[in-house]
Each structure stands twice: as C-alpha cells, then as structure tokens.
C-alpha cells in the first residue's frame, strides 16, 4: 500500500515537472539566462506549435490573402526581409522600418525597434493591423479562419475547441515563434568546447568584447535595451524611435539593440536598413558623432585598424547558425498548406 502511494506521487511529480516546459519542444541553452516568456500560461505542445507555424506561413492573415508573416520574415535570412531596407507589405506599400530578425524571442520583454509591444503574444497584432503590412484586423482574421476548411480542425487538435478566438490565434503564433531558438553557431560550439576559433576569429572576439559587448551582450548578443547608436536622423522618415512610445525627450533616437546572431544573413542593417554590408556598420561605429541622447557606451571613441575590422568581421561570421537557418521544423508547412484546399 505504502509503495503504491510513493510510486503514484512520484509519477505525479514527474508529470508536473514535464508539464511546465516540454524539453523536446524548448530548452534553455547552457549558460543562458532564464527566458522572460511565461510558458505556464501558454504551455507548448506539438499541435499548437504546428498551428502557429501554419498561421505564420499563411497569407490568410492579410486583408487580401497575399502577405504572410514569412514575406518579411523569411527563414533563410534569419527571419527578416532580405535586400529591403524598408520592408514592404500589402499592395507593395512600403513601411517605415527594416523588419527585425526573429530568434530567441522567449528572452525578450519588449518587441519592435521602439518597444511598442510589451508581450510576444500581442506582437502579431501589429503587422496584421498595420496599413502598410497586412492591413487586416484580428476579428476578421478569426472569421476567415473559422470559415476555412483546415483551421477548425487544427484549432481543435491544438486547443480541444474548434471555435477560433483571437486569444488562441495569438497564443499559437507565439508558440511557433518561441521555438525559433538559435544557439548552434560556431561561437556556441566554441563555448561548449566542441570547436575552436581561428586566430583571426579569436582576435575578432577580443575586439568584440572590448568595443561591442556592452550593448550586444552575450549570449543573446543584445542587452535588450534601447540605445541611441549615433545614427543621424533620416529627415524623410523622421523616426524618433523610442520617444514615440514614451514621449520622453531622453528617449529621442533610441532604438532596441538588435541581436548580432546570424548577422551574416540578416542584412540590411539598422532600423531603417541604411547599411547593406557589415563593413559599413563597423565604419559607422568608428565615426560616431556625439549627440544629446547618444549611448554613454559610445562616448569613448572606437578605434580599429583595417586589419582589426577584418578580424572583427571574421568573429561576427561565427554567429551564423546554419542549423537554425535551414531547420525544416521552422520552414513552410507544405504538408498542411499545400495538401489542403482552404
């Protein structure tokens, strides 16, 4: 009798231990901080992640069913918009910012270049509703999904309910985005003692730690803060950054520090995509002009020789994670979207 009780309680404890985060679906890379996202309120499951992935790749989210999330967030470019300084959306309308690369989102409290969004779940609402992006509204999206042939079943599999709500739609999209973890670059392998840097990369890493790491902090390669990195304002776009949200002059021209992971593939760079190449970015940082809200971390001039710039670039290329960029689990769900008529 006693043994039975012990066994049962042991099983229950095990179940609870696994219930919080299923390790096969999401695990925290070694030596990384704790994620910010509260998985308890949106527990990952295979069927919810699949639903989120299908939604991510389905243009049904846009007004005229032409634009999906993947249009501006394509996997092979670290989920950003290749070759477009300013991302374009529906009817070829051009937005005002360069779409951000999507990865390691579970570690972020705020989203967008200006931190306009305070929770991953609510992020998708912004592009769905934006006039220049998908130009839709979430209520109409749920109605279209409800009327489709595939979605009521996908929602039933995921939530045991075929009634499609905004809440479940957003939570499913979050689930897919949460799985986009990039932690298998050469840099990561070196850190895990599975690989080693070349001399050039090693020197680049040293220069990186000296000059860049205070904002692009390891292991996420962003301190997740808002900083003015010294870019002069584009008078046509007149984008004041974080100030637009807080209406505080101290936030003038501050933008969220983006990650440097997969930088090789996530060009163009900066909030307005003004730089196409990594060397342009590095040259910018060695020629900073002072201004009122310039990040204190950039007050001290960065001086790099041309050889050092090459070494720094060599290190930045070790942040490329091919397993992430070509992982079929993150790709277009052809098994669902091509085999069915909507």
């Amino acid at each position: 009798m006693k043994i039975k009780t012990i066994v049962i309680s042991f099983i229950i404890i095990l179940l609870f231990a696994f219930a919080s985060v299923d390790k096969s679906l999401f695990s925290i890379p070694k030596n990384w901080p704790k994620p910010v996202y509260n998985f308890k309120k949106n527990q990952l499951t295979d069927s919810k992640i699949l639903l989120g992935r299908v939604l991510f790749y389905d243009p049904i989210l846009s007004r005229n069913n032409t634009i999906s999330c993947a249009n501006c967030h394509s996997q092979y470019t670290a989920f950003t918009h290749l070759d477009h300084a300013l991302s374009h959306g529906i009817d070829d309308r051009i937005g005002t910012r360069n779409s951000l690369a999507l990865m390691n989102l579970a570690w972020h409290q705020s989203f967008m270049w200006d931190g306009a969004i305070n929770h991953l779940d609510m992020q998708a609402l912004a592009p769905i509703s934006n006039h220049d992006e998908m130009d839709e509204n979430i209520k109409h999206v749920t109605e279209k999904l409800q009327a489709s042939q595939i979605y009521p079943l996908l929602y039933f599999n995921a939530f045991s309910d075929s009634t499609i709500t905004g809440e479940n739609t957003l939570k499913a999209i979050s689930q897919f985005m949460l799985t986009l973890v990039s932690a298998n670059s050469k840099y990561d392998k070196v850190k895990r003692m599975e690989d080693s840097f070349t001399k050039q990369e090693e020197n680049g890493y040293r220069l990186f730690k000296q000059n860049c790491a205070s904002c692009h902090t390891e292991p996420l390669f962003t301190n997740r803060e808002f900083e003015n990195n010294g870019l002069p304002i584009d008078s046509l776009l007149n984008d004041t950054g974080r100030k637009r949200i807080t209406q505080n002059n101290l936030d003038y021209l501050k933008f969220k520090v983006p990650t440097l992971r997969n930088i090789e593939f996530s060009n163009p760079y900066m909030h307005d995509g003004r730089f196409k190449r990594i060397y342009e970015v590095i040259n910018h940082y060695t020629n900073i002009q002072s201004s009122k809200t310039l990040s204190p971390k950039l007050q001290k001039k960065i001086i790099l020789t041309s050889n050092e710039k090459v070494d720094l670039t060599a290190f930045l290329l070790t942040l490329t994670d091919k397993e992430f960029l070509f992982n079929p689990k993150f790709g277009f769900p052809k098994e669902v979207l091509l085999t069915s008529k909507k």
């Binding site: 306009a116 929770h119 779940d121 905004g166 479940n168």
Partner: protein, 227 residues
Amino acid sequence: MKKPIIFILLFILKWNGIIAQVNVCFNPMFDGSKLVLNKQYFIANSTDSIQIEKFKFYVTNIELFNNDQLLFKEKNSFHLIDAADSTTFNLMINLEPNINFNQIKFNIGIDSITNYAGAMGGDLDPTKGMYWTWQNGYINFKIEGKSNLSIAKSNNFVFHLGGYQNTFSTLQTIQLPVQYLSVFKINMAIDKWINEIDLTKQNHIMSPSKESVILSNKLSTIFSVSK
C-alpha cells in the same frame, strides 16, 4: 415606510441564507434618459446637436464594502459593456449569503498588470475591438459619434481612451454608496462628460497621451446609483 420592510425582508432572506446574487445594471444615459445610439440629441440653448454611434467601456475589479471593510472581491473581474448590446449591461455577482454592503468600488479600464499579461480571452479577447495594435494595450473607454461642432471629416468625433504606463495611466477607480442590496443601477451621465469637451477644438484621441489622461479623469463625476 419602505426601509423597515426591506430590513425585515433582508433579515428573513439572510436568515435563510438566500441573498446570494446581486444584479448590477450599468445604465448609459443622455439628457436624463437611457442612451439611444444614433439618436440626434440637441445641446441645450443652441441649434447644435450630437449623435453617439459607439459607446463601449471596461468595468473591472468589482469590490463590495461595508464602510471601509472589504467584503467581496470579484474573481477574474473583467466586463466589456457595449451600448449596442444591452445584454452586456447586467452584471450578476454571486455572493455568499449574509453579506451586507453599502459601497461598491470598480475600475473603468484595464489595469497595468493585465496590460502586460499577453493574450487573453472572453471580454479581453483582442477581437472585441478594444485593443491598440501599433502600441499594444487595451482601450479602456471608447465613444464615437457625430456633431456639427466637430470640424473633422463627416463631423465625426472619436475618443479612444487608454494607456497604462506611468504618466499616461488612464485607469479610473469609482466608488459609490449603495443602499440597495440585490438589484440596482449604476447610471452614467454621458452628456455631462461630453459637455466638458470643446468639440470645436478637440475631436479625436486614439493613443495614450496627456489628453487621454485628462478626459479619463473627468469620467469619475458621471456615475450615480439608483434603484
């Protein structure tokens, strides 16, 4: 005359442990009677008129007090009230028997913690049209309509009040004395609030701002309780 009867009745009901449900009815009013959407109301002593086309707001965190003593706090207390749907006006509160309250307290709007909590369902589902998307957060109070005083296109006015971050917090706490126990109305004199706005100068608010805070603060005076 009425009071003793109520007390006796109350005593019997309490004794039997029956009083367990309170029906709070929100009652949006204009010019002293129930608000009718799309009706042309004339502004006193003038030829100016006003029509309300949309009127929606959140009532949250309902609490009942006896003087200063908290007797009841509604769990998961989020209610979207929409003038276009009278079924949303009635809030049923289930109480344990023997709760004798004389104050009701509630918020107009969504608190900051909830604004940070991610996707939620029911009345908080973003499909309800009470959510800002470019800068996320709930709209606490929404009123739209027409008036010849507004110089905007089609004489429209649109006030979407919200904002939860420090200086732009618009959440309003309302506390009202109540001398009824099972059924009562909470009246809202919308005309009183609209009269505070100079529609010739101000015809829209659609983001967290100083103006949103100022207009939200003026909401507290329009509530009253009746049978």
